[in-house]
């Protein structure tokens, strides 16, 4: 079972052209900061993303995410290969 840092619909975008979701949906909102590398999406469709920014809106803080290249499996193989 993959732990998702922040649920999001990776099909969705807003006027920035980036994926968006709400900060208060994150497992640990404190970990969601600009530049952070996180796993977003759902347990069925996880992906590695970079947190671009956090935008305070009247209805909550919106997190913008940039999809990073590669799959979770590719990142897993990388970590295994370099032995960390």
């Amino acid at each position: 079972m993959i732990t998702i840092d922040i649920p999001a619909d990776l099909n969705a975008e807003d006027e920035t052209g980036l994926i968006w979701t709400f900060l208060d949906e994150a497992a640990d909102p404190e970990a969601i900061k600009p530049g952070a590398i996180v796993v977003a999406g759902s347990e069925l469709t996880p992906a590695v993303c970079e947190v671009v920014d956090l935008v305070e809106k009247a209805v909550g803080v919106v997190v913008h995410l940039r999809l990073l290249p590669g799959t979770i499996d590719q990142y897993r193989r990388l970590v295994h290969r370099i032995g960390v």
Binding site: N11, E15, G17, T21, L44, L67, G70, T71
Partner: protein
Amino acid sequence: MSSEMGGVPGKPDAREELRHRVRPEARPVDTSQVVLRGGPDTRSLLRSHARRVNRLFVLDGAEVWAISVSVVLDDVGVGSSRSILRTRLRSYDHVYLSTVGRLRKRGFDLLPTFARPHFSVLLPGVDHAEELFDALGELHSNPYAGEQETGGQR
């Protein structure tokens, strides 16, 4: 209409107007136009995504629930199926492949929102996510899954 709404009774609606994000272009009229969405989804996930949209947006001042899709608008370029699958949807091993006609036949209208080829499939209420799930059809393999991005905004 569902009773599950994002606004707070008695308070001015602070949500954003989705109409301001609608592209000034004709809606897709060709019922054969292909609709792509990365998956797999579940009925529960679609409800969550629709609620998220409802929390942030209204449409013409009224409640709105919507799910994001990409519509194949061109043979080449950002609106082509190849570009959509290898950029926007590259993190998805599988994608739902439907058509504008199939979704409309089930009662779902599509609104051209944000940047091409993004569209919002409008749901009459969050409970209609289940019907949309059925209308999305079968999952197909994404031949470009995991490829390095070569263009697009993401």
